[in-house]
Amino acid sequence: MDRFPSIVLAAAFGCFAISMLLSALYPWAITDAKQPEASIADVAANITEEFAELKRAYPVSFRQKLGDAAAAADAPLEAMQAAHAEALQRGRDLYIGEGCWHCHSQFVRPVANEEARFGHIRTPAEENNALQRPVLWGTRRVGPDLTNEGGKRSNDWHVAHLHNPRSTSPGSVMPGYTWYFREGFQVFRRIDPNKAEVAGIDPDTAYPYPGLYDTEEEARAALETIKANLDPTVAEEGDRLFVREAVGPDGDALCIIAYLQWLGTWFPEKPTEE
């Protein structure tokens, strides 16, 4: 061992240590050390409007992924918060596993008109939460920045876009994530033929009701419930209800969308001055 160049070892360990000191420990000490990291429960406490809407629009997928407690119409706030936390965690994991972060940044810079284009610039305190560990800033923007994506688009837009980006953004080079969609049966209502004629719309046009069921029987049962609950003044609409095969987001897709809708909506509490 006597001939081993201890000076090389010193170079290796010493220089590495200096770099850790200057570019890890020091920035940590003057930013994140000053306040604890926000947990997922903290950031999920404020339930976004879109998350509640996802539950109403896709009740079956929602229940399958996030459980009965939160799926109930009158679910208590705590159950919804827990489901929101779970959805954010899962959505974030999928965002990582699919490599969305290699095409989208979460990092608005104070230059190149980025504030005008993408909005609010995050402060260190706003970055310091469990969903940013590992940090998802990204280094490449094939698609736009998603820092403040929450609330920018409707859930329906996201569903259509996630299934086939070309349907909402012609020419887009983003992949379609069809494997987060499932096939099933859904209740539809054909539009009023008279109105269709007046407005010049294809009379076969039909609008879906929430709920994509795994079997035709379940969908028929849902149809009967809808029919039974129709307002008497529009009872004749019940005749235009029908069941057909359809494709809709599964629970994972809901989690991705819940995550996208959450982005940019959470702000830490201001530290109390002493």
């Binding site: 890890a24 940590w28 008109n113 310091n128 590992p134 020419g171 069809t178």
Partner: protein, 490 residues
């Protein structure tokens, strides 16, 4: 020195007990070439996504995002690690006069390493990647819970790297020479840095540091993997192979020592330059910018040293294909680093960050420098490992020109695309307008990729046929010589 040379040459001649385990070297190179090809194929397929010509739409495990993980990770851990390890198994015993610590351990590491690279790729295709760029190796469990959801590849790679260090550092520690040649400085430090960097990058950003300080360490990891693992091994091996092939010592040993120390000191301070204008404190960002510009000075000393060595031996570029690969790589190295010192400034960052400029830069350094050097070293070693003359020296030329021109086209094309993107972006063009404007550039990238893959296919075919046929290799054909003297001697 003469005593040492005598020992190593005797050992090489001792068939039963060779100094260099050629089988081990050869198999590492075979694995390297295999992963180089699959990684490039992955990159090529990924590039089709940008043209909306993707062949695997709707197949989750072959989708763009997951294939991109495979591309960069197989390049780093499948191609470069295997190739470097093979070369080190060849160079270190020759530089120290000692065998590896243990031959069986060498084979164990070989098989375990290939399994880990495959497990990394499979995990990524299954969507289990970790969100650390270039360190997307699956962790296998969520930090804090320890419930396994996949093989804990991260951890196993750390164990593998330590075993590798034992195997390689042992002969260095027991070297028969009193003073260590500069290659061994780089190799020793590189081995230690590989372990430290990997552990740091795969624990801090995911386990402890969120947000901006996590970003600082993630940047450090991306940078250290290039600067503290790939670069020291690359230069260490250049200091070994170039003097051998040119048959003259390195120009200045003083410069090589300066180069080593400056790399050790300045390179790891660069990490934060990947996230300029971020919420990392500005003082840290300025520090990284200054250190990055300082690296350019380091690089100049090293490159000057190698061109000084080349002085008077220019004909070697024509005679020796390995030298051609090495020196092309060095020109690109200088270009990349010059580019670094500009693009790290805030002025450049504003425009080029987040654009195709960055992959242009990444391909210039990873392919144009380090892959070139490794290919050159493989060209030099392959006839020596198999004992066979090249099947076709013409194909070696095709390999060089196709890959070199392909890379040049890819680099210029992506750089231009980056500028178009950056300025359209700043001028508030709608996003889809930007995407549409970039599509012609993306077609060129795919075309350049096809050139590179064709070149590499020539190479693989050539390697295969050389291993198979039986014309013995005469090393004298590869000796560089002054053409004027050859004429004078008749």
């Amino acid at each position: 020195m003469s005593e040492a040379a005598a020992i190593s040459i005797d050992d090489v001649r001792d068939e039963a007990h060779p100094l260099v385990d050629k089988d081990l070297v050869r198999w590492h190179l075979i694995a390297a070439v295999f992963f180089m090809f699959t990684a490039m194929l992955g990159g090529f397929i990924a590039s089709l996504q940008f043209l909306n010509e993707y062949p695997f739409n709707g197949i989750s495990w072959l989708s763009y995002g997951r294939l991109r993980f495979l591309h960069t990770n197989e390049v780093a851990f499948g191609f470069l690690v295997n190739s470097f390890v093979g070369m080190l198994y060849y160079a270190v015993p020759r530089l120290t006069g000692r065998r590896l610590f243990n031959r069986t351990l060498g084979w164990l590491i070989f098989f375990v390493w290939q399994a880990l690279v495959l497990l990394t790729s499979i995990g990524q295709l299954l969507g289990k990647a970790q969100a650390v760029e270039w360190g997307e190796t699956p962790t296998g469990f969520r930090p804090g819970t320890f419930e396994l959801n996949y093989v804990p590849v991260d951890f196993l790679i750390e164990v593998g790297a330590v075993l590798l260090a034992v195997n390689l550092l042992y002969p260095i520690a027991k070297s028969i020479h009193k003073r260590l040649y500069v290659s061994l400085w780089y190799i020793t430090a590189g081995m230690i840095w590989l372990i430290l960097t990997y552990v740091m990058g795969n624990t801090l950003p995911e386990w402890t540091l969120a947000g901006s300080s996590g970003g600082a360490t993630a940047g450090l990891y991306i940078h250290d993997l290039v600067g503290l693992f790939v670069t020291p091994f690359g230069w260490g091996l250049m200091y070994f192979f170039v003097p051998i092939i040119l048959r003259k010592p390195i120009w200045s040993h003083a410069l090589s020592v300066i180069g080593f120390w400056a790399l050790a000191f300045f390179y790891p301070l660069n990490g934060v330059h990947h996230f300029l204008y971020s919420s990392i404190p500005m003082s840290v960002q300025y520090g990284a910018i200054i250190a990055t510009i300082a690296v350019e000075i380091v690089v100049t000393t090293v490159v000057v040293n190698f061109f000084g060595t080349m002085w008077g031996r220019g004909y070697a570029l024509r005679q020796s294909i390995p030298i051609r690969w090495f020196y092309t790589g060095m020109v690109f190295y200088f270009t990349t680093c010059l580019q670094c010192s500009f693009q790290t400034t805030l002025t450049f960052q504003e425009i080029i960050h987040f654009t195709d400029w960055v992959p242009g830069h990444a391909h210039l350094v990873m392919l144009g420098v380090f892959a070139f050097w490794n290919m050159g070293m493989i060209v030099w070693l392959w006839p020596r490992l198999t004992g066979h003359e090249w099947y076709s020296r013409r194909l070696l030329g095709w390999h060089y020109w196709l890959v070199m021109l392909g890379l040049l086209i890819m680099f210029l094309d992506l750089t231009a695309a980056g500028l178009v993107h950056g300025f359209m972006f700043k001028n508030m063009a709608p996003w889809m307008r930007i995407v549409d404007s970039l599509k012609p550039f993306w077609w060129f990238r795919t075309f350049a990729g096809a050139m590179i893959i064709t070149g590499v296919s020539c190479f693989i075919y050539n390697l295969w046929m050389t291993a198979k046929h039986d014309k013995p290799y005469d090393y004298r054909v590869d000796l560089v010589h002054d053409p004027k003297e050859a004429i004078a001697n008749g």
